[in-house]
């Protein structure tokens, strides 16, 4: 897959912007790439998100992977700070898990390599 590392960076960029802007001031990111998949693990400390907001975030990130959208628009992810591109991030990943534990928001995103 072309520009794979750059696409992962864009996803992280977009989520960093969104979390720091709308929710918290402390975020951890871990990225693990192997031949089959990339796993992005995010811990958003002292989250102010309520269940309703988390559910909506879950739905935004859980739309199916859309290769045609990704190939055309991936360079837009993380570009703007006036608006988010969660739909685009959702179109660039295959699985998303979002949970609130002890006041911290745990997000895990999986992107398969073809």
């Amino acid at each position: 897959m072309r520009h794979e590392v750059k696409k992962i960076s864009r996803i992280v960029d977009e989520l960093t912007t969104m979390l720091l802007k709308d929710d918290t001031n402390e975020v951890d990111f871990k990225i693990k790439m192997d031949l089959k998949q990339t796993v992005i693990t995010i811990v958003d400390y002292h989250s102010r998100c309520d269940e309703k907001k988390i559910e909506r975030l879950r739905e935004s990130l859980s739309i199916q992977r859309q290769h045609e959208m990704e190939e055309y628009y991936w360079q837009l992810a993380g570009e703007s700070d006036c608006d988010d591109e969660l739909t685009l991030v959702g179109a660039m990943i295959d699985e998303a898990t979002i949970e609130l534990k002890d006041g911290n928001l745990h997000i895990q995103l999986i992107r398969y390599r073809e």
């Binding site: 072309r2 909506r56 739905e59 055309y72 628009y73 700070d81």
Partner: protein
């Protein structure tokens, strides 16, 4: 942050959605059979369309008559749906926008012959990069806005016919090969505030191509071959198609009357896929409403519903699945209007109607930054669009997309410079 709300509506499979969209090319074919205005045979008119240089503004109603123009649009629409089905592309906001854009521009500029080499180039690119056709199909569909390059080289009489065919096919393939990386890169210039990103990309490529041709003393200039008669039946026919979209939306989501307004809160910046954000029901209703409003505008202003205007209306309808709605479009249109009155343009001329309808490409500026920014952007758009056609010699059919990209890339950073506070 405006995340997705869970949408409760009737679920349709991808094939069912394609079937519902196929009503458009089917009815276009039927309509073409019933309406005839020229004495020449259908086949002669089809040949005229296929061999027309197709540069802006070449109205296929004028070149080949209404029957052949509708047949060409039906062919192109059917071909687009076949490709979407064949490569299993999701029928979402972007693919709906691509379908209606191709359908519309088949009334002025696009035909199966001049888009063919672009797809061949795209297929070569896929092979070279080892990616699937599915990944780039939508970009290729939009990139057919550069198809006049193929027709111009093949049929404008610049070169002997054999060389012309080789050059036309060769340049078409080259466009298909290079368009994907260029279009993705161009997005960063306007940050998604110009919905017709391929228009901007095609404008850049067209400018480079035309400049090279002019360096060889080969002149490419825009033309003005536009049909100037109105047909009441065509207006009724289009209105029925837009009502069909509204009924289709209501059939999918019974609660659409109460929930339609939720679409108006979206700024519309790319990527705003309404089918994912508010569901297919509200999206189809939005498309129908935008189509009816556009048609009403043309009728009330006293304009002619010719090929280019039909293309503009259908493109607005398509992009109403991918960012446009009445609220973010209104202030941009108002800006174009104010500028038109100020500069003394005739509001009911075909060129002016096209500028008004296509100006909605920068609707996300109004949606994001408010009415004043939208009005100023609309005014800037008119100033630009009336002057940049000559730069690319009319070989980019998406002239307004080119202008919209320049306006957004220039204006959005200025708005940002004046914005105070925030993280």
């Amino acid at each position: 942050m405006i995340p997705i709300r869970k949408v409760e509506e009737k679920k349709l499979s991808q094939d069912q959605l394609i079937f519902r969209l196929s009503i458009f090319p089917i009815l276009f074919l039927v309509f073409g059979l019933f309406v005839q205005t020229q004495a020449e045979s259908w086949s002669t008119n089809m040949v005229n369309i296929f061999t027309s240089p197709g540069t802006l503004l070449t109205d296929f109603f004028e070149v080949g008559g209404i029957r052949a123009a509708f047949t060409n649009a039906a062919l192109m629409g059917g071909l687009t749906l076949y490709l979407l089905h064949r490569y299993q592309v999701r029928i979402g906001g972007l693919s709906i926008a691509a379908f209606f854009t191709v359908l519309g521009f088949s009334f002025f500029g696009k035909n199966p012959l001049n888009i063919f080499p672009i797809f061949v180039g795209g297929a070569i690119y896929c092979r070279y990069q080892r990616i699937q056709m599915r990944d780039i199909l939508l970009v290729l569909l939009f990139s057919t806005g550069l198809s006049p390059i193929v027709s111009q080289l093949m049929f404008a009489g610049i070169f002997p016919i054999r060389i012309a065919i080789i050059l036309g096919m060769g340049f078409g393939c080259l466009i298909g090969f290079i368009i994907v990386p260029i279009s993705a890169h161009m997005l960063r210039f306007h940050d998604g505030f110009n919905l017709y990103n391929l228009g901007f990309t095609a404008g850049i490529i067209g400018t480079i191509f035309t400049s090279i041709m002019r360096s060889f003393k080969i002149e490419i200039e825009p033309v003005f071959l536009v049909y100037q008669r109105n047909h009441g039946l065509m207006i009724v026919f289009l209105a029925c198609l837009f009502v069909y979209l509204i009924l289709l939306g209501i059939g999918i989501n019974r609660d659409v009357v109460h929930k339609y307004w939720s679409i108006l809160r979206f700024p519309g910046r790319t990527v705003t896929d309404f089918t994912m954000l508010v569901g297919y029901g509200i999206t189809f209703v939005n498309m129908g409403i935008m189509g009816l409003l556009s048609l009403l505008y043309v009728v009330l202003i006293g304009g002619v519903l010719n090929g280019p205007v039909l293309a503009a209306i259908l493109t607005v309808v398509g992009f109403s699945a991918f960012g446009k709605h009445p609220k973010n479009s209104f202030f941009v249109i108002l800006g174009v209007w104010i500028a038109a009155v100020f500069f003394g343009y005739s509001l009911n001329s075909t060129g002016m109607i096209l500028s008004v309808l296509f100006a909605t490409t920068i609707a996300p500026i109004a949606g994001t930054y408010g009415p004043i920014a939208g009005i100023i952007a609309g005014m800037l758009h008119l100033a630009l669009v009336t002057n940049i056609g000559g730069v690319h010699g009319g070989i980019n059919l998406y002239n307004n997309g080119f202008s919209g990209g320049l306006v957004a890339g220039f204006f959005v950073p200025i708005i940002d410079a004046f914005k105070k506070g925030g993280k």
